[in-house]
Symmetry: C2
Subunit: 337 residues, 2 copies
């Protein structure tokens, strides 16, 4: 596959990634033992979007009080649920994302407990966090982060006596890297076709829901807009019929991000509607992937990770077809503002 080294992937995500399980359990168990009032998931752009699935999963499965907050807003809003008893979780590939680093410093100063997942070692965020998992490589860092966040979040739920299936779940986490690899391979041709078909498309609607809303929001903003300079509107499936639907015409590109959680019927409804109007629909559905060894019960959770990995295949082909490097920026980190 283009720009995908299978051996490197398995080495980074499966071998090295899974090895953090013991460390994560130790961190979460220690925090649970000392007690905490709530969990704050904090990030900016791709890293707050990465937290939305876990906020959704916690709200749908746990009584733990959880808040996903955008870093820069969190720091000024005087959030009344935040205190020294909060647990604040951050991720950053570079370890230098300005707002995330500032928010972690802020949380630490206020006496809260901070946990960070960082790819690059010896960076500001690794220094600040009380607990830091440093994965060591920017390559496939989102795949690893998603996997580690499953471990963190479900361990908190387990310790809160809300997830007796923890052992089984964690065993299935260990199957996730292979499931991702299979999904990526089976989707790769479709990703390439999408990029060829859409190399000149200048506007996409992306619709998602539930635990895939974060990926939908993120792919539109951080990949299509930021990395390809293509207009993209992300719309929640439950909101689609309250405005954006009116823009759909025969040639509108609509990308449906379908997963397997409780909100799937909302996506089905959008799909039924757009099928009547547009001839330009792309359905990316985790149901089409085998996820070998993953139980029916947990497929919905792992869909987050699977979905992000297959979306990423579209990116590499868009880059090639559009001759537009994913790293090219007009402004971000190119100028002061």
């Amino acid at each position: 596959m283009l720009k995908f080294d299978e051996e490197l992937f398995l080495n980074l995500v499966e071998k090295e990634g899974l090895a953090f399980r013991g460390q994560i359990e130790e961190i979460v168990d220690g925090i649970t033992k000392r007690g905490y009032s709530n969990i704050f998931l904090i990030g900016a752009g791709g890293t707050i979007a990465m937290m939305y699935p876990y906020e959704y999963i916690l709200k749908s499965n746990s009584t733990i009080d959880v808040h996903a907050e955008i870093a820069a807003e969190f720091m000024v809003m005087n959030h009344k649920h935040f205190s020294k008893d909060s647990v604040c979780i951050f991720t950053s590939v570079s370890g230098t994302t300005q707002e995330t680093v500032a928010a972690a410093e802020y949380c630490k100063e206020k006496g809260a407990t901070t946990i960070a997942l960082v790819a690059e070692p010896n960076t500001p965020l690794t220094q600040i966090a009380d607990y830091c998992i440093t994965t060591g490589s920017e390559t496939h860092s989102f795949d690893t982060f998603f996997m580690l966040l499953y471990m963190v979040v479900f361990r908190f739920m387990h310790n809160n006596n809300e997830f007796p299936q923890y052992e089984q779940f964690t065993n299935e986490v260990s199957l996730l890297p292979r499931a991702i690899l299979d999904a990526v391979k089976s989707f790769d041709k479709k990703a390439e076709e999408f990029a060829i078909t859409h190399k000149d498309t200048d506007y996409h609607m992306m619709v998602g829901s539930g635990n895939l809303w974060g990926n939908t929001y993120s792919y539109a903003m951080c990949i299509l807009e930021e990395m390809q300079w293509i207009q993209a509107k992300s719309i929640h499936a439950a909101e689609f019929f309250h405005g954006t639907l009116e823009l759909v015409v025969e040639d509108t590109s609509v990308i449906l991000i379908k997963g397997e959680d409780e909100t799937r019927p909302l996506m089905d409804r959008v799909e039924r509607f757009v099928e009547k109007i547009s001839k330009n629909i792309t359905v990316i559905d985790t149901k089409s992937f085998e996820m070998e060894g993953i139980s029916e019960e947990f497929r919905k959770h792992f869909s987050v990770s699977i979905n992000w990995s297959v979306l990423s295949r579209i990116s590499v082909y868009l880059e090639r077809e559009r001759n537009h490097p994913l790293t090219l920026r007009r402004y971000y980190r190119q100028m002061e503002y």
Copy 2:
């Protein structure tokens, strides 16, 4: 002013709207006395967007547990913080919005307390809610709803011993209709100019933050997209630098929705950036309105209401300049889906 009857406005919002104060206090005091675990603000499209300011205000000013949830998603997600002890608040102009009515029924069946603000009397939502304020007129209903929501939310905070300034605040609420009218009058010319300048603009970015994020999201989706069929991307100011900024070029229309809460510096930062790139910026800033009699301390809260009322002036001129009625729909309530 075009399509604005001042006398009717004052009659509906000031005279009739303010008269609900006693009824609202009675409802909220009764609920407080019986006890409740948390507040759910539930809606779809414009009515969930209308709740976001109050979610923000509660998070920033109160320890009351609050959740703003999209109606259709809320009904399927199995929200673990929702219970018979929850207070669920809804608004609907027509009283018939499909998802809102269904969600209110769901909440009532589960034994939760339901409060609804509805414009049209004798409609499904007025029948379902335990407590219903029926305002009686669709005209200016959003202005009235915003005002009543201030009363509801700040009364809950007051009863929770978190808002000793309640009397002063409520006295200022009674000045709000006149402040809105003054703002609308002073903005009207600018609204008309915007519509003339932008009658052929086919894409706008709208940036907002804090308690004005809801208006930003709503104006893009429910007015520009739904009622004018113009592409519009709403971006939170704290997220703007993580993607969408890369699309800004010299002629990009960027609409900045500025208020007066703690997040204003985030908007200032976006403004400094876009000023360097685009020659096509519209700043809509509540600071430019007098709000006579409103104290410095509370201006930030009333900005929500003021901002929505002036944005609505743009709508009537867009309708005229573009010869596109605000009521025209391709699909919504025109077909089954």
